[in-house]
Symmetry: C2
Subunit: 214 residues, 2 copies
Amino acid sequence: MRISELSQRAGVPVASIKYYLREGLLPAGRSLSRTRSEYDDTHVERLRLIRALLGAGGLGIAQVRRVVDAIDDGASERLGVLAAAQHAIPPVTEAPPPGMEAAPSEDSRPSRARDWVASRGWSVEPDSPLLDELDAAWLACDDAGIGLDPERLDAYADAIEQIAAIDVATVPPQPSSAVRQVILGTVLMDPVLALLRRLAQQHRSIRSSEDGER
Amino acid sequence: MRISELSQRAGVPVASIKYYLREGLLPAGRSLSRTRSEYDDTHVERLRLIRALLGAGGLGIAQVRRVVDAIDDGASERLGVLAAAQHAIPPVTEAPPPGMEAAPSEDSRPSRARDWVASRGWSVEPDSPLLDELDAAWLACDDAGIGLDPERLDAYADAIEQIAAIDVATVPPQPSSAVRQVILGTVLMDPVLALLRRLAQQHRSIRSSEDGER
């Protein structure tokens, strides 16, 4: 199909398609002449994926490129497909804006995240950037006066382990599909889980206020 | 204290403090002269909160303003503090970038999110924007080829209900503290939970690949 039909089938404007081609998010079509190319169903599917990652996934162009590159590369399997795919997943937390970085002295503080993970008995790569992110997120809770102690983290972790068990159980056996599933399942399911949390809070809150009226 | 000491104690540059004052995120200090003001500990605390929300919370300036306004206003309690505070919490998902919006025809499709919430028996405001966000996030999973069926959503929801129970149980009884706790606990704990999910995936993945080697 030509670019106009691709645009129509994927629901993405031609100008955006040309931008994704230039940025390397979308593989080039088969060249028909100097100015015309032929696209196929893989391009439609890739455009839907880009739209999902930019929209609901909340990723930027550079992060989307990293994700599609990892999907195209398939799996490296030293730590299992799942852990390997995690390296292509963008960080959970944004880098702090300029002037908002934590004071350098805090780098020498012991890592509460590492202590907590060890006490929980989780097998995690000791140099995983996830642990530094968890330390930073924990510090942000302190700064905001939200009491997050190891006991509360453990209570959350009991529930999160069930979620991770579902995640791992639904990974397909073929390495190439597995990497795709892990990356997309993580990035696109985060907002679903955050929404379920708010809905469940609302449900419990409405129910408990009705109980209070009795 | 003067602005220079405030800057030092909160670890925020003077230029940023002036910006937050102009943007209405930080209340004005007590005016000493046309160009000098006196600040106190409430300003230090507010600056730490702003830093936490902009950094780990990943919010923009406009979203931070909405959050601090809600905290300052205290609670409206028609639906319970928790549900009321949710209105001040920024949406989970970003609005799609220009040209990436879903086709308008999809608006007339039935709401899977509403059907699923009803089947689960959750009490949720029927016009809650959370339900529209869940429909959009679900559609993004479809677009990316991630199988999210109501059964998988139910399995996730079983675990999420435990998280929401912890959230609700840790809300303090005073309405003004409660609103603050709910908003910050939701915004700042989302990244913590997302990080726990990745760490728990890694743990299960490393453990199951070790099991496979035996």
